[in-house]
């Protein structure tokens, strides 16, 4: 612990962006992402970061600007939350289609209405099908590490796709905790300068963002999906290289007490830590509980997931967002049910919607979910702890 420094996770995120030698930051402040942008703005103003900081007038402009800067070869960063992402939405789809390696931190916050500034995953679920690589961080260290990792993945010539790093708003963004920072030299070794093969340049004209007739659109989208799926081994490689550098090793699906587990929680983001505590306590009581955490959301690590759930009898899938009127429960549970459909001996899936709009999800919450699922009292889909 002696190498760790106490800092707010948002500041650690900003420090990571600085260490990545980002050339352009374009962002509009929105709670709970604000501290990241404020710190980056200060870095640039104080001369501690050699970048253009563009205080744009909206998130739509923030990402539009990043498209321009990334297209001319500048390492570009933006971050937002909730309504900001909603306002940005039109542009979010363009970035993967243009194959631009922009990195965005999303300080996850619920989408209005009712108006709420607090944490859930409704914002990120609204961009699920945009074609970005999407990762979830569980704690401040993972947020810090994944800024470097995200650029490493995104800028790989075999990938060239944008990456969203999800960090739970407030629960992570405003948490002060110990973080081990990586030195500039080590980051430079891991993440060399961005040298794209194709850039917009008046002397070497190329077309980016072309108009597509019906005869080509389908092929373009297929190529885009193939590129996203093909990014998987390079994501693993980026994690492996980071592990070699820092000793912290990441996987698409993280597990905790899965060996011999009959019941597995499935989580994404910071509640994984809380779920882990609940699992540890359940194991102490002799219950065969375990935990599977999805770090990689897009591309979905299906094979890893199926391997890690092994022969568990039941999955308790936690969704931090609603999919109102949908057939499969919350967005995560719906996908997992679909993924299991063709599998023999598939586990029962219990889906709990929890932690909407900042509602606390405690160790006790997970214990309750466990008891009601194992005893068969839980239905396949319910909103945990809801009144009325």
């Amino acid at each position: 612990m002696r190498n760790h420094q106490g800092m707010e996770v948002s500041f650690a995120a900003a420090e990571a962006v600085r260490l990545c030698n980002v050339d352009v930051v374009a962002a509009y402040p929105i709670t709970p992402q604000t501290h990241i942008v404020e710190r980056l703005s200060k870095y640039v103003a104080d001369g501690k970061m050699d970048a253009e900081f563009v205080p744009v007038e909206s998130e739509h402009s923030a990402l539009s600007l990043c498209i321009g800067s990334s297209a001319v070869g500048a390492r570009s960063f933006t971050c937002t939350s909730s309504q900001g992402l909603a306002l940005m939405n039109e542009i979010v789809y363009l970035v993967p289609a243009l194959r631009l390696p922009i990195v965005m931190i999303l300080a996850n916050r619920s989408l209005s209405g009712p108006l709420s500034i607090w944490n859930d995953h409704s914002d990120v679920m609204s961009v699920r099908d945009t074609g970005w690589i999407q990762l979830f961080a569980e704690n401040g260290q993972e947020v810090f590490d994944h800024v470097m990792i995200a650029y490493k993945i995104a800028e790989n010539e075999n990938v060239l796709l944008p990456v969203i790093i999800n960090m739970d708003g407030f629960i992570l963004s405003h948490m002060f905790e110990p973080i081990e920072l990586t030195g500039q030299e080590a980051v430079n070794t891991y993440l060399p300068s961005y040298r794209p093969r194709f850039i917009l340049h008046p002397d070497r004209p190329v077309t980016m963002g072309a108009y597509t007739m019906p005869t080509l659109f389908t092929e373009a989208k297929k190529a885009q999906e193939e590129a996203l799926l093909a990014s998987y081994p390079y994501i693993l490689q980026a994690w492996k290289d980071w592990g070699t550098l820092c000793g912290r090793v990441y996987h698409p699906v993280e597990t905790y007490y899965t060996e011999g587990a009959e019941t597995l929680f499935v989580t994404m983001g910071s509640i994984g830590e809380t779920a882990g505590e609940a699992v540890r306590l359940l194991r102490e009581q002799g219950q065969k509980a375990g935990l599977v955490k999805l770090r990689l959301w897009r591309p979905f690590p299906l094979e890893d997931f199926l391997r890690e759930i092994g022969s568990a009898q039941r999955l308790i899938v936690i969704d931090r967002a609603l999919s109102p009127g949908g057939p499969g429960g919350g967005p995560v549970a719906g996908e997992i049910r679909a993924a299991l459909y063709n599998r023999e001996n598939r586990p029962q899936v219990f889906n709990f919607i929890a932690g909407l709009g900042g509602r606390e999800v405690t160790v006790g919450s997970f214990q309750e979910m466990f008891v009601s699922s194992v005893s068969g009292k839980a239905s396949g889909y319910q909103i945990f702890g809801v009144r009325g």
Binding site: M1, H4, G6, I117, W118, F170, F176, E177, V363
Partner: protein
């Protein structure tokens, strides 16, 4: 694990207090997390902040319902709600108040410390910001953090002049803290050690 909850009003520094405490603990090689009650920040509105300290990694991010220590930066909050809610019987209650600590013990046999942090803050900092001041009383009352580590945490965040004044305030509160009868706080020399109570 020690769980400390801070109650203040927006602008008094409850969040900064929690962060200083966590920073000092991390500087001692311990694990710590600090966070505010999340919401729209407004000056004067009640603010709660939390700090957990442990020698082992901490995995909890939920609010602290059963604190070992409660620090009250503004005693007018007693009129609004039960700031000592969930505080254990042997828990420590540190209050910014000119009143005798015994006047706060009626609600239970709790270990109460009072210090006139507002006056110390106005004297030394020229601002009614009582965050670092009350931490001085906390060092005296609970064996969880050393004065040196707190001073280091303050120097890490503030410029030299501000740090100096805050450390003076910290030391003044350490000296002036008044303890409820029947409770012996730490001896000065043991309170100066790296917090061994965790």
């Amino acid at each position: 694990m020690q769980e400390i909850r801070f109650h203040g009003r927006g602008g008094q520094g409850a969040v900064t207090s929690a962060e200083f405490l966590a920073q000092a603990a991390i500087m001692e090689g311990k694990y710590a997390r600090a966070f505010p009650s999340f919401g729209a920040e407004r000056r004067g509105a009640p603010v709660t902040a939390y700090c957990r300290i442990s020698r082992k990694p901490i995995y909890l991010r939920s609010v602290i319902e059963n604190p070992n220590i409660v620090v009250v930066l503004d005693s007018s909050l007693f009129r609004s709600f039960d700031v000592a809610s969930g505080l254990s019987e042997d828990g420590i209650l540190i209050i910014n108040s000119t009143n005798d600590p015994a006047s706060f013990t009626a609600k239970g046999s709790r270990r109460v410390v009072t210090v006139d942090a507002s006056r110390i803050a106005l004297d030394l900092l020229k601002l009614p910001v009582t965050n670092t001041v009350l931490l001085g009383a906390l060092v005296r009352a609970a064996d969880i953090i050393s004065m040196d580590s707190l001073a280091m945490a303050i120097k890490h965040r503030f410029n030299e002049e501000m740090a100096l004044h805050n450390i003076l305030a910290l030391e003044r509160a350490f000296q002036e803290a008044a303890f409820a009868p029947g409770w012996q706080p730490l001896l000065e020399e043991s309170a100066m050690r790296e917090g061994g109570g965790i």
